[in-house]
Subunit: 338 residues, 2 copies
């Protein structure tokens, strides 16, 4: 490793001169010759400022951590892309981390923030996480921003317009002519799941459609949850002709289960899912989805942590733009005439 003093020795100048030249400090008075020589030697020796030394000096790492429960999830990777792009613009580096359960989150926060490895953290919790559990790790002053979770005693959340996303999906099915529409939702503990359910229910109510409680489930977002939910809904006395599914992964499971049970989509059952991701294009039939602005969510999350880092106050924010976008594929169609 090359250090400033290596360069200083080689160039025959003092360490402070090298430091000033290479960090381009303002008001630096160094002759052109010396400056050029320092630059040349630095280049020859392939100098790179030592990260630890800078971090120690500045008490600042210019690193942001982004913790997600599951990297496999294509939605999260949109989020991560947004985080990375915005972080780069603000000269931050992103450290990605995985924390599947609360315990891991707690430990990760302690290590990352407590040991000064990062300046701020963006946390996407599992949908199943009880917000109250976050209290334990919520020094309200910590530069932590939660994504898609509003934290009771911690201002600083960035969430999607779940209500509108669900409404968009629901309206699409209504526009196709469906009247018996069901909702396959996430676990009731999650705020985002509640908001989506409300978006569905409000839209149905606004056009005077009745929702049979048998058509509504709250089992979760995994494919297996979607399979179970579909079974439950389709065993109802009167079957729905269409379903809003609150998550694309659950929708994939539901499609598979529909196949297994011999229900053809979209002829006998239309499906519209919230969230888009590449696997949605590759299911059979390809899924109609409502694409939520995860990329922008990631960007806003970064702005929010940075604000917290510099001013240590946070705000809660709903990312409403771009609006949830309906992507019509082949899993939704008008209902068969009765």
């Amino acid at each position: 490793m090359t250090t400033l003093s290596d360069i200083a020795r080689e160039a025959g100048v003092s360490v402070s001169a090298v430091s000033r030249v290479l960090s381009n400090a303002e008001g630096t008075r160094v002759s052109e010759g010396t400056r050029a020589r320092i630059h040349r030697v630095a280049k020859d020796l392939n100098y790179r400022p030592n990260f630890a030394a800078r971090a120690l000096k500045f008490q600042r790492t210019a690193v942001l951590a982004c913790i997600v429960p599951d990297l496999t999830n294509a939605m999260f990777s949109e989020l991560v892309r947004g985080v990375e792009s915005c972080a780069r613009e603000h000269d931050y580096t992103v450290l990605l981390s995985r924390a599947e359960v609360m315990l891991e989150l707690d430990a990760a926060l302690a290590r990352l923030l407590g040991e000064g490895r990062v300046d701020g953290v963006i946390v996407q919790t599992l949908d199943a996480t009880d917000p109250a559990a976050l209290d334990a790790l919520s020094d309200a002053k910590m530069p932590v921003v939660f994504v898609n979770t509003v934290h009771p005693h911690h201002a600083g959340s960035v969430i999607l317009d779940d209500h509108r996303g669900a409404a968009t999906a629901t309206q699409h099915l209504i526009d196709l002519g469906h009247q018996r529409i069901g909702f396959i939702g996430g676990l009731a503990a999650a705020g985002s799941a509640r908001r989506r359910l409300e978006g569905f229910a409000d839209t149905m109510a606004s056009v005077g459609l009745i929702v049979d409680p048998e058509w509504v489930t709250a089992m979760g977002y995994r494919p297996a949850d979607g399979m179970a939910a579909l079974g439950s809904v389709m065993d109802a006395g009167v079957r729905p002709t269409a379903l809003v599914i609150a998550n694309v992964n659950a929708a994939m499971g539901a499609l598979l289960e529909a196949r297994r049970r011999g229900w053809s989509v979209p002829q006998q059952l239309s499906v519209a899912a919230i969230h888009d991701s590449w696997p949605a294009e590759n299911t059979w039939p390809p899924l109609t989805t409502v694409k939520m602005p995860f990329y922008e969510l990631g960007r806003e999350a970064v702005k929010s942590v940075i604000a917290r880092i510099s001013q240590d106050d946070g705000i809660d924010l709903v990312v409403g733009s771009p609006a949830p976008e309906l992507i019509v594929r082949e899993s939704s169609a008008p209902p068969l005439a009765d």
Copy 2:
């Protein structure tokens, strides 16, 4: 932030006493009372050793970077899981990073290793990457290990037994009674793609089956590549009755294209893919796959970097155990009688 001197002041002892007690240095002679007091104060003040200071002192971060081209890819997340588990066992932390193209990889390596942010790097390159391009960033002594790519002038690669994986998939289709079997492969530049093709070809040859060149493609591993490849193969004069597809994502695209063209799988066309991932269970029909030991690959990669870090010599290694595992789902079946 709490520092050692905060604790020292509070406990009325010297900084060095605190350091020795908290780091549990051997041969430390500190009275029980002092020791207890230091521990209590440290706990009260919620002390955590500063990462930057330690890194600066030790010239060592205990962090390993893992660079992948695409986090969405479910296969990589198996790899990452393996990396994390093994890293944890060796008291390393993992920093995940994304680098889609060579330029980014180069920059990432410079930042991570050059600035001393990490002690070693595990790189999973894109399948499309030309190994020769890696030369540029290959100080052969750098603590870098490549996964699934053998690097010409850089011993230190960990790869899968691609030949055997392809052979397993091929043999499965042969066992079902297929004779006209095609191969949808990855880009020819990638060594792993070549090894899989050889595994396919060798297995076919070993049972005396002929491979029509029209049944073999090398378009890549994305779903769109699989769609194009399926079209090309099924336009052949004599059509195959089964396909080995070198990657599960390409297989998803191929399944979709088969649907679109009205070829029913597995009745008219059997499909077996290399690699397993959760979306493979949720396609229609669910995909028959050969699960490759990505988790173990990740673990071996960690052992390999650690060896490089401490001894700075590397070895090339094939992870052959557990063996590629055939997972029979519904996309493969005996051929229709002619």
